[in-house]
């Protein structure tokens, strides 16, 4: 049962007080713990290859996923674990893929940044997924499925020309496409101001994509903005954008963080997770955390394959 279903189920039992916040917290917490665990496994030499964790950005994935239906399509990038988990809850399949196991999503051929599952696709080439997502959205429209396509990109990826060709085509041909820019202010080691001229928002609006913007890091605020953006695409059948000012709390990849401890401290203050945690009943919060830890431990045990 994914967290959307839990919210629905719990809601229908009449106990609505805080249930939404709890489930949102559960979604974020599970992703956080998976990402932390992956970095630990790497540090311990128990994973090979590479990974990009979404520490600090989890709420974006959970918020958007909440508003999508099973028929909707999600297209993501190198930093995709959160998007996948929020969408599917499939911890074991993801972990198996990252660990290179036969039972991974792609039998270990894809690894951390090349995932595929029904209605879910990621790839490791910055920007290259945006025209794909546009084509997928056009296909859904032609088939009359009513599904929309959400593509997640980072702010650094706005440096790629093909992104703008895609915005143009998406607008011209009315693709039901939501472009979510997770603007964490960095691209690998390059701060966004060193790579981006002009206005991020205007880059989308110039092509006729109405563009929402979330400046704060309150999880529920992100949730509301995501709802508005998804709703806009669904109602109009046309592309729209959502820029979320977010923060990457971990390294770009495994150990490559060129930012100062002071800057990281400031970023940690923006982390939505502790704030959401503080709003919950402590006992219920601990129960959620314990359940996530159990699930993670079970998935780790189940995927303990040759490394």
């Amino acid at each position: 049962m994914d967290w959307r279903e839990r919210v629905a189920a719990e809601g229908s039992r009449g106990d609505r007080t805080g249930h939404f916040e709890r489930e949102f917290y559960r979604g974020i917490y599970l992703i956080r713990r998976l990402e932390e665990t992956l970095l630990e496994l790497f540090a311990a030499g128990r994973l090979s290859g590479t990974t990009h964790t979404c520490l600090g950005q989890e709420a974006n994935a959970v918020a958007v996923a909440f508003h999508l239906t099973d028929a909707d399509v999600v297209v993501s990038n190198h930093r995709c674990h959160g998007h996948y988990l929020a969408r599917t809850g499939d911890l074991e399949g993801l972990l198996a893929e990252i660990r290179g196991l036969e039972r991974g999503l792609c039998s270990g051929k894809g690894g951390s940044q090349h995932l595929c599952a029904p209605n879910f696709y990621t790839n490791g080439i910055q920007g290259g997924i945006v025209p794909l997502a546009t084509g997928m959205a056009l296909a859904e429209k032609q088939r009359g499925s009513g599904a929309i396509v959400t593509v997640f990109i980072g702010d650094g990826t706005l440096g790629q020309g093909v992104v703008y060709e895609s915005f143009n085509i998406a607008a011209l041909w009315a693709a039901p496409l939501l472009v979510v820019v997770e603007a964490n202010g960095w691209a690998q080691s390059t701060p966004t101001p060193r790579a981006m001229a002009g206005s991020m928002r205007q880059r989308l609006e110039a092509f006729g994509l109405p563009c929402g913007m979330v400046e704060g890091t309150d999880a529920l605020e992100i949730h509301r903005a995501a709802g508005a953006a998804v709703g806009q695409v669904r109602e109009t059948g046309r592309p729209a954008g959502l820029i979320i000012r977010t923060q990457r709390l971990g390294p770009h990849s495994k150990g490559d963080d060129s930012r100062s401890p002071e800057e990281l401290e400031t970023l940690r203050e923006r982390d939505p997770l502790p704030r959401l945690a503080a709003s919950l009943d402590p006992e219920q919060r601990r129960a959620i955390e314990a359940e996530c830890e159990r699930r993670l431990a079970a998935a780790l045990t189940a995927t303990e394959g040759p490394l």
Partner: protein, 338 residues
């Protein structure tokens, strides 16, 4: 009744649009009354207005948009106006389109055809005349087809569109105005004619029962190879077999190997530049499989490693000509070291 190659291709596209609702044509300037830079889609946007889309000048995105359509159950046929422009889309081809099926462990297919004209001899100059198939043949997961007037182009293109995997369909520009050349009862003009029965067959033209050289070629060079075969027979009493491939990747060299075992000599003729060309791969494979059958070194005919000039006399000096093929065949027939 003889059909021009352009009409055969147009008819194949029309048939695909009729038969399969999920077929879509995308590309620059496809819509009527223009009907594409080489007029191959003429009439189709009038008949299928929702499924023939003139696009912005955005090759990179067009490859990706087409792939996205294909991943979600459509059957797009993308026209790239000049083969030279595929470079804009190679990221999509190499890192997306050709990868998905295997990278995603068979969870998806990408039924996409990219049609594009290649080749020179029209004076279009350095950026509108190239044969760039060598950039495509080494990409795992990609099928590369290059038809000629000797192949049933209607059937060939329809097969590509029916395929559930990505196919590059290369059309030499000079084909468009030529008539289809199809053999009958084992003969085509003065030649013994044979065509394999695979989806993408190799056509063989043999000047006689016993020949002394095998020439393998494809696309626009097939026309020159046939002329060379006629000249060699008449002027030099040298009989050759011409093998015209239609699929360059993955390539099936079975008919060529059988031919080389008969003739003992190999010439590869391609219009693209020599270094790193498709011919190098073919020669490597043939010598590995049939080394003991070869009387002498295999020979290659290709464009010089140079920019293709616009002026016709300069262009002629860069692109391979009929004489280059006849010279190579005479040397190969003699089995000399050159």
């Amino acid at each position: 009744m003889s059909t021009r190659c352009a009409a055969a291709l147009n008819a194949a596209l029309a048939e695909a649009l009729e038969r399969w609702d999920e077929t879509l044509l995308l590309g620059e300037d496809l819509a009527d009354p223009y009907g594409g830079a080489f007029r191959i889609t003429r009439g189709l946007s009038t008949r299928f207005p929702d499924r023939v889309l003139s696009s912005p000048i955005s090759e990179a995105a067009l490859f990706g948009v087409s792939a996205g359509l294909a991943l979600r159950g459509r059957r797009p046929v993308l026209e790239i106006m000049f083969g030279d422009f595929i470079t804009l889309g190679l990221d999509q081809v190499i890192n997306h389109i050709a990868k998905f099926r295997e990278m995603y462990d068979e969870q998806v297919r990408v039924p996409l055809v990219v049609r594009t004209p290649m080749g020179g001899r029209r004076g279009y100059g350095p950026t509108h005349s190239q044969c760039l198939e060598k950039l495509l043949v080494g990409i795992p997961g990609l099928t590369v087809v290059a038809g000629s007037e000797y192949h049933d182009l209607h059937r060939l293109l329809l097969a590509a569109i029916a395929s559930d995997d990505p196919v590059f369909f290369i059309e030499n520009k000079l084909l468009y105005s030529r008539f289809q050349q199809r053999g009958r009862d084992g003969r085509l003009g003065p030649f013994l004619w044979e065509e394999g029965d695979s989806t993408y067959p190799t056509v063989q033209l043999r000047a006689a029962d016993r020949c002394s050289v095998s020439v393998v070629t494809w696309g626009g060079m097939a026309h020159l190879a046939r002329q060379a075969a006629e000249q060699l027979a008449i002027e030099h009493e040298t009989m050759i077999e011409v093998l015209i491939l239609s699929r360059l990747a993955p390539v099936d060299l079975t008919p060529l190997l059988a031919s080389v075992r008969r003739t003992g000599a190999l010439v590869v003729a391609e219009e693209g530049t020599l270094t790193g060309g498709v011919g190098a791969e073919i020669v490597a494979r043939v010598q590995h499989e049939a080394f003991s059958s070869l009387r002498g070194p295999a020979r290659r005919v290709a464009a010089r490693d140079a920019v293709i000039p616009a002026a016709r006399h300069l262009e002629d000096a860069v692109l391979p000509q009929v004489e280059d093929i006849t010279d190579a065949c005479l040397a190969a027939a003699a089995g000399t070291e050159h």
